[in-house]
């Protein structure tokens, strides 16, 4: 299980040129805005076409420029959670979740949706529309919708950035539970240091369209020996670096 990613994509004057692998774990793509993290997710999901490279998930090749393989997003079996405005406004909570199932009988759909409603603590909101629920509830529905079809991996693009601090802590715990329960590899994009530090099994540090470093969070943030990393930390978190001996 896991993802293998090697991608090259030029957009105007920005060049993304990255390569990383992950197993059945939670990998955090960390770096400041414009480093190419979200773009990587879009390329993995097939919402954008790379110039060249290779993407495989769970051993299945999703994209291979050399072999001219480029699966449509529909056929990649990846759960994708966008930053915001992500629920279908004309569908109820239950309908939104059910939409994550491709083809199943009515009975099966009902069973799976009920299960998701329970797991994500959405009881009583089934018939509400997205505009009638809170931000945290919305993000839980999105996660439920992305997971109900049992994807091979879950791609999360700054899923909690629009939430307040308390909710964010709650959602991080929920995400850990999900990882445990569904046993699914998760790629989490964030520019929140605390989130990266507390959530990641593996941190993939992005800088200017390239991977600056890959490693365990403590290794990266505590005793980095990589000048790129030091520079990045000093640039973004001067207070933190000042306290590091």
């Amino acid at each position: 299980m896991g993802l293998s990613v090697r991608l090259r994509k030029q957009v105007d004057r920005f060049l993304l040129d990255i390569s990383w692998e992950m197993g059945n774990e939670l990998a955090v793509l960390f770096g400041h805005s414009g480093a190419g993290k979200s773009m990587t997710l879009q390329l993995i999901a097939g919402l954008m076409k790379p110039d060249e490279g290779f993407v495989s998930s769970n051993g299945n090749v999703l994209y291979d420029s050399a072999a001219k393989i480029n699966l449509q997003p529909q056929r990649r079996s990846l759960g994708y959670v966008f930053q915001d405005r992500i629920l279908f406004p004309h569908m109820t909570v239950a309908e939104n979740i059910a939409y994550g199932l491709k083809s199943s009988t009515k009975h099966e759909t009902e069973k799976k949706v009920t299960e998701m409603i329970r797991l994500f603590h959405l009881e009583g909101l089934e018939r509400r529309h997205p505009r009638e629920i809170s931000g945290g509830q919305k993000q839980r529905v999105t996660l439920a919708r992305a997971l109900v079809g049992e994807p091979d991996a879950l791609l999360l693009d700054e899923p909690f950035s629009a939430l307040d601090n308390v909710l964010r802590v709650e959602m991080r715990q929920l995400l850990r539970d999900i990882r445990h329960q569904f046993d699914v590899p998760i790629v989490l994009v964030t520019h929140d240091l605390l989130e990266a530090y507390t959530m990641a099994d593996k941190v993939i540090l992005y800088s200017g369209g390239q991977v600056a470093h890959i490693g365990h969070p403590s290794e990266i943030f505590n005793n980095s020996s990589n000048p790129e990393v030091d520079f990045f930390l000093a640039l973004n978190f001067p207070l933190l670096v000042a306290h590091t001996p």
């Binding site: 919402l47 997003p73 529909q74 994708y80 992500i86 939409y99 491709k102 919708r145 079809g149």
Partner: protein
Amino acid sequence: MDDTVLFSLRLSFQVAVIATFFVAIVGICIAYILSRADFRGKELLDILFTLPLVLPPTVVGYYLIILFGRNGYLGKYLHEFTGWSIMFTWYGAALASFVVALPLMIKTTRASFESVDKSLVDASYTLGHSELKTVLKVVLPLSKKGIIAGIVLSFARALGEFGATLMVAGNIPGKTNTMTLTIYSMANSGEWMKANVLVLFFTFTSGAFLYIANRFSKRMV
């Protein structure tokens, strides 16, 4: 009411309903292609479909005669194989209404398709759904307002069509004299009382349509 008046009322509605039916189907398809696909000649196609909106109706009618007339580029073959021509029939009136109403449908529908958040479309794709299913379940429901507005505008335009209809279908009493043509004839021959009835009817129906359309679109936020 006078027979002529009743006939032209019925004919006008018949023509407008048929024309709007096809305008809705064709318009939604073209609007979707223009809003989502990217291809060479797209802007040219857009201009071509918009032209009937700005061209004088007589010019549109003239083109239709050249295309569908008994000796027209397309009408020639139709006449050869079936011995029938669309000219001077109520089908011709429906065709004229279709052509002049289509741009209104395409414009409003395209705008509402383009206002559907692309990340919702992407979300549907990543959830494993085909483009067709995404259109049916996400794009169309979220564009409902624009589509209904387009249908109402097209219907009003089709109902009020005059110039192109006159050229293609003529003004044959008991055959192709729609409301607008009848009003013209009556005004010409000084039958003011009858014309008044039609004009008032036209005004009230159109007003009612706009009222209903407004009420309906307000309810669907």
